[in-house]
């Protein structure tokens, strides 16, 4: 079953100046993500991968093409496509508990249900001890855990992640990737992740979508042979990393020629 279907998406940003050129950000992008599949979108910065994610989230409207989530065409943002942001975007005036509870309160859950659910998800991301803290009292990694719990709690059809670990240092990033694998093993989810890290994509994904330079197009879709069980420095790992690196490096040369 398809969780997400993107069909021939094109996005043009009108120019800010009256005589300036319109910017074609992405074109002819089509992709399908199956239920409980982890899909990474990989590409250079400025290749339109975040634009694509914003279109899926409904923050922006495609110039043409359509996006279906669980068979329904999307119109605007919704809790079926909760997003985890690079800068966490936690509500600073809410405690960890209330941040995680945000989506449930909007859905009108009872206090009892909210307590139960939030407690469960706080434990899932390893923050049970910190539910009364405010975001500014937490480290970057902990904030991102809150953000992940806040998005998971509304049970989205697709979980969207916009370079979620890019702001963390190397150790924390590796740890959060391992955490993400653990969380997904306990709580199956369809995920679309935007990243510029080849290793992150290989470690986490079932499917990797490599994008071209602007205007962003799908260059290649690669299936990871043993999703989330790839061991670094094994021949299989090195092979797939080599393959992706070549794809992306090829993009680099093309753009320099132009």
């Amino acid at each position: 079953m398809l969780a997400l279907k993107v069909e021939n998406i094109k996005k043009i940003y009108p120019s800010m100046q009256s005589k300036g050129q319109d910017v074609l950000a992405i074109k002819d992008v089509s992709l399908e993500v199956r239920k409980n599949e982890f899909c990474s979108i990989l590409g250079h910065s400025g290749c339109g991968k975040t634009t694509l994610l914003n279109l899926i989230a409904g923050f922006e409207v495609p110039t043409s093409g359509k996006i279906e989530c669980a068979g329904k065409e999307i119109s605007g943002p919704g809790a079926d496509r909760a997003m985890v942001f690079q800068d966490y975007a936690l509500f600073p005036w809410l405690t960890v508990f209330d941040n995680i509870a945000f989506g449930l309160k909007i859905k009108g859950f009872s206090t009892l249900d909210i307590n139960k659910t939030v407690t469960r998800y706080a434990a899932l991301v390893g923050l049970s001890q910190f539910i009364t803290h405010y975001p500014h009292q937490l480290s970057g990694g902990m904030r991102q855990r809150v953000s992940i719990a806040r998005a998971l709690v509304v049970d989205p059809t697709v979980l969207l992640m916009d370079e979620p670990f890019a702001a963390l240092d190397a150790q924390n990033r590796a740890m959060m990737q391992a955490e993400m694998i653990r969380i997904l093993s306990e709580e199956s989810k369809t995920v679309v992740l935007v990243t510029h890290s080849i290793e992150e994509a290989i470690n986490l994904s079932d499917v990797i979508v490599v994008m071209t330079r602007r205007p962003g197009q799908v260059k290649e879709i690669i299936r990871v042979p043993e999703p989330r069980r790839m061991v670094e420095d094994t021949p299989a790992y090195l092979a797939i990393r080599r393959q992706i690196r070549d794809l992306i490096a090829g993009e680099h040369e093309v753009s320099e020629v132009v």
Binding site: G58, A79, M83, A89, F91, W93, F102, V154
Partner: protein, 257 residues
């Protein structure tokens, strides 16, 4: 240890105490009698203050001034919803902004002549002047606060299922609150200054009236007591709001800096 702390506290006041002592000395031993009437020594001012407290006069003026400030603030708080609407809806901002930009630079005091003709001498006129002082700082800060809400916070709320109304009540209002409070603080300060000016010319009570009335009978000690009271109340108002806001919004970096 106790004494060290005591001395550290004391050290901060040293310069102030030296100044007061010099003033006392000058007023008693250097100035002649006429001049000393114009600048009574601190002890004289303190005595004047005690006198005013005993007769209860100062409390009456204080209460009148504070209640004017309070009522004017209640009216002026309409600036908060207006500012939110202006910050959220571009077309409202387009229509209202020119009006506000023209009215805002006019100092509240410039409205005194017209307001006396409109409202006569008394509470309404005073409140109107104070209202003008409070209104604009709150409005400008509210608009600014709403416009500067982190866009990703709004997106986060939207993708967790919040509609437009939910975004305004659950995100915009909360995120803007610290700066709105700053607007209230500035507003109450400006309003308090405007109040005294309004009372100087258009009132039969209040601290502004007290100091102007004392002038006509040459009670400079009362004038100084009144001025001191104005300063202290202004300080207390500001501290009170800041303290309350810090307690209510422990998460705000702007307020707790």
């Amino acid at each position: 240890m106790q004494t060290i702390i005591f001395f550290k506290q004391f050290r901060r006041l040293a310069f102030l105490l030296i100044l007061l002592a010099a003033w006392e000395y000058a007023s008693r031993f250097i100035l002649d009698k006429t001049e000393a009437t114009l600048l009574p020594p601190p002890s004289g001012v303190a005595l004047g203050g005690l006198e005013l407290m005993k007769t209860g006069e100062i409390w009456k003026h204080l209460f009148d001034s504070l209640s004017r400030e309070f009522f004017a603030f209640c009216y002026a708080s309409v600036a908060i919803p207006l500012g939110i609407v202006m910050g959220c809806f571009k077309w409202v901002n387009e229509q209202v902004d020119p009006l506000i930009e023209i009215l805002r630079p006019i100092p509240p005091i410039a409205w005194i002549p017209l307001s006396i003709l409109w409202f006569g001498v008394g509470n309404s006129q005073n409140q109107f002047i104070i209202f003008l002082g409070i209104f604009f700082p709150i409005l400008i800060n509210t608009i600014d606060a709403v416009k500067n809400v982190e866009p990703n916070l709004i997106r986060a709320a939207r993708c967790l299922g919040a509609g437009s109304w939910g975004v305004i009540t659950r995100v915009v209002l909360r995120a803007a609150l610290p700066q709105i409070v700053t607007g209230v603080r500035i507003g109450l300060g400006v309003g308090w200054m405007a109040l005294v000016a309004a009372e100087l010319v258009g009132a039969n009570s209040g601290l502004g009236f007290l100091i102007n009335d004392a002038r006509t009978v040459l009670r400079t000690d009362y004038i100084l007591v009144g001025m001191l009271a104005i300063g202290l109340i202004g300080l207390c108002l500001d501290r009170l709001i800041r303290y309350t806001a810090q307690k209510l919004m422990p998460w705000s970096r702007a307020l707790n800096a």
